[in-house]
């Protein structure tokens, strides 16, 4: 659980393509995710962020390309190899994905009970250490239904880090949270990186969060990575696509009205 200052690459993605039938969802994605840092994958809804995340986690087989992570090419790995790699990663899903029939503590202990033979006392103390990290020690015995949105996110984070993963994935950490709770969660993500040396990949479109937590940003649009860089580099980008995202500009004004009408009506 001690930190590291490595600057090598934790995940290398090359020429990744995903097609759903005739539709191309990811188009020749190339991305290096550095170890021990926070990479934010940003973009509007439908940009391909979630599909990329699903591919990295081995939940979606890409059409072609490679994803090297923890010594395995996830794109071509067997289910057994993916299962082995997954033990070294933590995932906090957008909705929390906590089991509602269990208490918070039971949810957090679950991966340890499933994947280790640790003593009961060790499991309990580990769970409480992680609950304390996310400032939820007093919520150990609460049922999931009793949690606020922010608490559910923090509980999901505690479960994601229970096995001390090398890699942590966080899908839309701030979505649906009030600004104060979102800011607390952002700070927690930064603390985990610094104290535990984790490589953290955050998928989000929340601009406030992005510029607080990111060491690196990959901007996606229409299934492509249109730019990568530090927050400063992305802010200073002259790419109109990036500026449009950062300034939340509305979609382009229609110039060719005839063409637009044809698209809407099918040209009858």
């Amino acid at each position: 659980m001690t930190g590291n200052t490595q600057t090598d690459t934790a995940i290398t993605i090359r020429n990744l393509v995903v097609d759903y039938g005739p539709r191309r969802i990811l188009n020749d994605i190339n991305l290096d995710i550095p170890s021990g840092q926070i990479m934010v994958i940003m973009g509007q809804s439908g940009a391909g962020k979630s599909t990329l995340l699903r591919c990295i986690l081995g939940l979606k087989k890409p059409t072609s390309g490679s994803i090297h992570m923890l010594g395995t090419d996830i794109a071509t790995a067997s289910q057994k190899e993916i299962y082995k790699a997954r033990k070294q990663i933590g995932v906090a899903f957008q909705g929390g994905a906590l089991f509602s029939s269990m208490t918070v503590g039971e949810n957090i202990e679950l991966p340890l009970r499933e994947h280790t033979n640790l003593d009961e006392k060790t499991i309990q103390i580990m769970s409480r250490i992680k609950l304390d990290m996310v400032n939820m020690l007093d919520a150990e015995h609460l049922m999931v239904a009793e949690l606020s949105g922010g608490m559910a996110k923090r509980a999901a984070l505690a479960r994601a880090i229970i096995m001390d993963p090398k890699l942590l994935f966080f899908d839309e950490p701030s979505a649906g949270l009030d600004p104060s709770t979102a800011a607390e969660l952002d700070q927690l993500i930064i603390t985990l990186k610094i104290s535990l040396g984790m490589t953290i990949v955050v998928v989000t479109h929340e601009l406030d969060s992005i510029f607080k937590i990111a060491d690196h940003i990959a901007v996606m649009k229409d299934g492509n990575i249109v730019e990568t860089g530090t927050p400063q580099q992305i802010s200073a980008s002259t790419n109109p696509e990036i500026q449009g995202l950062l300034n939340r500009k509305p979609r382009e004004t229609i110039v060719d009205t005839d063409a637009h009408l044809r698209r809407l009506t099918g040209g009858f």
């Binding site: 659980m1 640790l118 006392k121 103390i125 580990m126 304390d132 001390d164 104290s195």
Partner: protein
């Protein structure tokens, strides 16, 4: 992970080295609890520990609670900066007795 307990004059010294992770923390737990059963104070030297995960930290915490219940001195020696960050994050730096030398621990025993 290497884990050796040496009986010194009036206390046990547990020297740890290498990586303390999910695979080896049960062995650490066994050594700590086994040593405390002898009724001796215990000092754990972490100088040669290159990595300790939360299962290792949990074993140290359980040992501390056991020592406290048995009214035995229990200390951690030579905590690395990175391990210290983890203890600080979990506020365990305020709970454990941390020492930078064996002499410091011996003075506490007197």
């Amino acid at each position: 992970m290497e884990c050796n307990v040496k009986s010194e004059f009036g206390y046990d010294l547990l020297e740890l080295s290498g990586e303390v992770d999910l695979q080896f923390s049960p062995q650490l737990r066994e050594k700590i609890l086994g040593s405390l059963k002898t009724g001796n104070p215990l000092l754990i030297d972490l100088a040669k520990v290159s990595y300790i995960d939360s299962s290792g930290i949990a074993s140290l915490v359980e040992g501390f609670q056991t020592a406290k219940t048995s009214k035995l001195q229990y200390g951690l020696l030579n905590i690395s900066n990175t391990a210290m960050q983890v203890l600080t994050l979990t506020r365990l730096d305020k709970i454990f007795d941390l020492y930078s030398s064996i002499d410091q621990f011996k003075q506490k025993l007197q």
